[in-house]
Structure formats: C-alpha cells, structure tokens
C-alpha cells in the first residue's frame, strides 16, 4: 500500500518556478523548509485510476498560527465548510490532511461526516485535538471520498512524516489531480535581521479561476 517517500516524488516532474526579484534566495524544498514542519505523501488507493500518490499530510511540531483563504463559490465543498468553522474558532493549527481524487463537494451531510471521521481518526493518531487538524480535498465534484481506504492509510502516512525535502516533494505530488507537474517552492530571507524561511506547495490545472476570501 504505502509508497516510500523517495518513490513518490518521481511520479511527475516538478514545475519550473519563477519568483519575482527580491531580498531572498530560493532554497530546496517546499512546505518542510521552514522550521517545525514535516510532510508525507503516499498512494492510498483513492484515485480513480493510476498509482500516483493521492494522500498528503503536513504537520507542525508546535501550535502554528493559522490563516486560510477559501473559495467564495456558494456550493462550497465539505472540507471548505469545515476549515472555515475551525479557523473561526481557533487561531492555531497543527496538521493539514489533503486527499486527491474526490472533491467531497455537493456530497451533503454524508460528505461532511466523512470530513469529521477523517479528522477525528488522524487527530487520535497524532495525539491532537480534532479542531487542530484541517483538511483539503480535490478531484471529481459530487463524489464522496473513499473513506475506508483513506482511514486505513493514515497510520502509514503518519509514520512517513519527514522534515526532509523529499517529504515536502512527496506531499506536492500527492495533492495533484490533472496536473502535469508538481508545484513546490521555498525561499530564505531575513526578518528583523533573523533568517526566516517561507515555503509552499500547490496544485491546480483545471477549474482555475480562484476568487478566495
């Protein structure tokens, strides 16, 4: 079931990233470049076809100050509704789970319950409170997530967590859908004379006209 971290980042090439000029330098990695963050990505059998990794996890060793921007589409997916609720209640987060294959959108109460079940199970494994865990989903709209396969994969996903570049790259691949490349970048700069790092991963290739708030 699980794919090693090294294998996953070889499933699709990385996108060329062009950054604006500024007082920073690009460094390897993405979400794991900044201190305190770990990530993992694996194939959990969620995708309709193919063996590309499809489940990713990003964690922070401490309570991370959290912000979110979400679609203003009225038909918001269950994970969007859940995350907005959590960020209204709490200023910090410890983990983000991301599944690819099914969007869990237009799935009604059952879809929202799938979000809760996934978050509660992962929180228990990470010894966190459920409200410290957020979730993002992407894939076919109208389809519920393959919850059985997802929950079964969580222990392996947690064990694979790594603060290495590979950990971040594996997560970048696992969140893709029709993307031809994975998207990941990190920079190092200074704030008040102290070196800091900012990094990230993203996905997206179709149904792209974000109006997030």
């Amino acid at each position: 079931m699980a794919t090693t971290v090294e294998d996953t980042s070889s499933t699709i090439p990385a996108a060329p990233i062009s950054l604006p000029e500024g007082p920073w330098k690009q460094i390897p990695g993405g979400v794991t470049a900044a201190k305190g963050f770990k990530a993992s990505g694996m194939y959990a059998g969620l995708r309709v076809s193919g063996k590309k990794p499809d489940l990713a996890l990003i964690t922070c060793d401490v309570d991370a100050t959290a912000a979110g921007a979400f679609t203003t589409n009225v038909v918001a997916a269950a994970p969007v509704v859940y995350c907005k609720k959590m960020l209204e209640m709490s200023k910090t987060v410890r983990a983000v789970l991301i599944n690819a294959g099914q969007a869990n959108a237009a799935t009604g109460d059952a879809g929202y319950q799938d979000v809760l079940d996934s978050v509660v199970t992962l929180a228990r494994l990470l010894k966190l409170k459920p409200e410290e865990v957020l979730i993002e989903s992407t894939g076919v709209i109208g389809q519920r997530i393959k919850k059985g396969a997802l929950l079964q994969a969580l222990p392996t996903l947690v064990n694979m967590l790594s603060d290495s570049v590979n950990g971040g790259d594996a997560a970048a691949v696992a969140i893709t859908t029709t993307d031809l490349v994975s998207k990941s970048v990190a920079i190092e700069s200074q704030v008040g004379g102290t070196p800091i790092r900012v990094g990230g991963i993203a996905k997206g290739s179709g149904m792209i006209h974000p109006n997030m708030a």
């Binding site: 920073w24 990003i58 970048v185 704030v191 800091i196 991963i201 179709g206």
Partner: protein, 220 residues
C-alpha cells in the same frame, strides 16, 4: 481546483498573519485563471511556526511585517504562476501587466479580464498578435479609462499607442508567440491605461484543443 499550503518559521501574531495572507492571496492565486471556472474547493492554508527566533510581528506597519509580506507574496506568486503555466492543454504561460490605473485593485481587475478572455487565449494559441481582442478585454473589465491613453505591447513589440493601432511586424509578433509555445515559455502582454500609479498582474495560459479533450474525458 487549486489547493495550497504555505509554511513559515517567522513569528507573527494571528490577526496580522491573517491580513498578510489575504493580501498575498489577492496578489497571487486570486490573479490566475485557466478556464474561468471557480472551484467548490479552492483553499490556501498558511501556517507560521515562529521557530526561527525572528522578532515577533504584531503590526502590519513595521519593517519586519513588510519584509515578511514581500516573502509571502513571492512564494505565493511563484506557486500561482506555476498553476497557470500548467493549465490544462496549455502551451505557454500568459503574463498580463497593467499600469496607469488609480489603484492596484483596478489594475489587477483589468489584468485578470485580459488573462481570462477566451478570445485572447485562443489568439495566443493561434499565434495571432490580436491586439483588438486584448483592447476589448481591457475595455470590458469594468474599470473606466481614457481610450486615447491605451497602450498595448506584446513582448517588446508595440501594437497600440495613445489608443491608435500601430503598424508592426506581424510576422515577428507571431514568431514571438510561436517561440513561447515551443518552449512552454511566457507570453508577456503589457497594457498601460493612463497616468496613475496603480499596477497589477494576472497570469493565464493559452486555450488549446486539448483543454476540451481533457475535460470531455475527465467526467463524473
């Protein structure tokens, strides 16, 4: 759908962080377009661990906040551009820069209107330097400007100045588009609409037959 997770080890207060992220999202992910369809799932989560030991940022107006904002804008723009670059069926990235408006928001609105235009996207795929479509898309953006201030260039080829179409090397302009498509590079469209200080960018991609093919097959 676009998803993003951004992390930093800077130390920043919650309300300030949320405002910073909103600004950065508006300068990046909210300025990309591939097909004009806003997803049900678009989400960006941004997390700050504070483990770098940097000075605590508790106000938007201090130098440290401006430094962190610039870094956040940069990372999000890098990721946002890579999404547009990888648009379904795309052969090239389209970067639209608009200057001369009164505000940043107006420039961003015109830029996104041009980047979203199916006719502009199809012209780029057809390697057609169709300045008329670019002007039209700028004109219906919902931002008023003087027609005789309109200036449009494609790469370093000037197509329109003071609202007047110019004679230009059509073959050279088409070659510019063709080359960008061959290397999956970037087509730069620069538009000036007046003398204001507002400036904004948007990113999109050309519209190819493959976009229809991919989405006709990626069914429920």
């Amino acid at each position: 759908t676009m998803l993003g997770v951004v992390t930093t080890d800077a130390l920043v207060e919650s309300d300030v962080w949320r405002k910073m992220v909103k600004v950065a999202v508006n300068r990046s992910f909210n300025q990309i377009t591939v097909d004009g369809d806003t997803s049900t799932n678009d989400t960006v989560i941004a997390l700050a661990s504070g483990l770098s030991g940097s000075p605590a940022i508790s106000s938007l107006n201090c130098p440290e906040a401006l430094q962190l904002q610039a870094c956040l804008d940069s990372v999000m723009q890098g990721l946002a551009k890579s999404i547009a670059w990888d648009g379904e069926g795309a052969t090239c990235l389209i970067e639209v820069t608009v200057t001369g408006t009164e505000t940043e928001a107006e420039a961003a609105k015109i830029a996104r209107s041009v980047a979203s235009s199916s006719l502009v996207k199809a012209a780029v795929y057809g390697r057609d330097p169709n300045w008329g479509r670019i002007a039209a898309a700028a004109g219906y953006a919902g931002v008023s400007f003087e027609m005789d201030s309109l200036r449009i260039s494609l790469g370093d080829i000037l197509l329109m100045e003071c609202g007047q179409p110019l004679p230009f090397d059509r073959l050279g302009a088409s070659k510019y588009l063709k080359k960008a498509g061959e290397v999956h590079g970037t087509v730069e469209i620069d538009i000036r609409v007046g003398g204001g200080l507002g400036r904004g960018k948007a990113w999109g991609c050309d519209l190819s037959y493959d976009y229809v093919k991919i989405n006709a097959e990626y069914t429920t």
